[in-house]
Symmetry: C2
């Protein structure tokens, strides 16, 4: 599936953003310097500014690209004629895939969004809230149609999003299990817990 | 249930540690100063040092107190003659309770442990790994006795620990649900997903 990572035809700006994600994940946004970023891209610090305005701009680009990917997937899933459990399964798989394939970017969006400047910070938070509310709507629909147990949709959203986010510990410290086994068991645990 | 928080008969040192947990959670360990801590305790910065050696010592105390609480609970649970599902339920409830009642301390132990100095850093990590392995053993026992589905115990541990940890988002942004409802639904979702 499509990765956020820069393709062969990606621009210099994309390459900088990608290296920035790796750097921000490892060192944190605040502790990362444009100089270190230039080193990891392999250019002079001054030439970075031909492609990107500031460190903040890189963070913003990472956070909003990740947010867009999740929102696009949700848009698609909402359009599909599938029951609520199928929709949730699709989204859980997408979250896991994003964590595994675009780990740096998703990690940075999860951990460093606080460093966004206004108006981007408020905008990012309201997008996230809207995303969670739409997930809750899918669960609510499943409950009303009888495929999902009568539980608080926001608790389910919290558990699902936290569990997939927990893959960041997995990434750091891989256990003896294949990626596909991990995905299947995670989907199964999370869905069996709520389906009737 | 017992909170980590300082009781009426707590020492000045306990009070400092508690305020430190609140400060480190809000500002992060690196960005917190002893001066701010003194302000929040209501003493002169110089007098803090009558009770505590350094900022690092406070972090260490928080992380190891939290680790001890979880390990003690696990020790008790392992001794009880209860099946694996019952043991897991007990531990999930304990994790949720710790998140809700000792939020600052658990949050700091979860997020700021990287700032521990050696030998404490390695020690903390090996304790955490041992804890996770013992949880996996309980799940493995449940699988072998037929009460838990045949799934990878480490995936289950990851999902459970991530989900309860996700309560930090809940704490920040409370939804319209009671604490007891939250606990029951979380336990039910997490256990129904793996029991036969």
């Amino acid at each position: 599936m499509a990765k956020i990572k820069v393709a062969k035809n990606g621009t210099k700006r994309d390459a900088i953003t990608q290296k920035g994600a790796g750097l921000f994940r490892k060192k944190g946004f605040a502790a990362s310097s444009m100089r270190e970023l230039a080193d990891s891209v392999g250019v002079e610090a001054s030439s970075l500014y031909n492609h990107i305005g500031s460190k903040s701009e890189i963070l913003r680009s990472i956070c909003f690209t990740v947010a867009n990917r999740f929102t696009s997937q949700l848009n698609e899933v909402e359009q599909v004629s599938q029951d609520a459990v199928g929709k949730l399964e699709n989204l859980i798989r997408f979250h896991i895939q994003m964590m595994l394939e675009n780990f740096d970017e998703v990690y940075v969006a999860n951990h460093e969004w606080k460093q966004l400047e206004e108006p981007y910070l408020s905008n990012f938070l309201s997008q996230r809230k809207a995303y969670e509310n739409r997930l809750a709507d899918i669960i609510r629909d499943g409950i009303s149609k009888g495929s999902i147990k009568d539980i608080n949709p926001h608790v389910v959203v919290l558990i699902i999003l936290s569990a997939v986010r927990g893959l960041e510990f997995w990434q750091r410290n891989k256990k003896n299990i294949s990626e596909s086994e991990l995905v299947e068991q995670m989907v199964s645990h999370l869905l069996n817990g709520i389906t009737k």
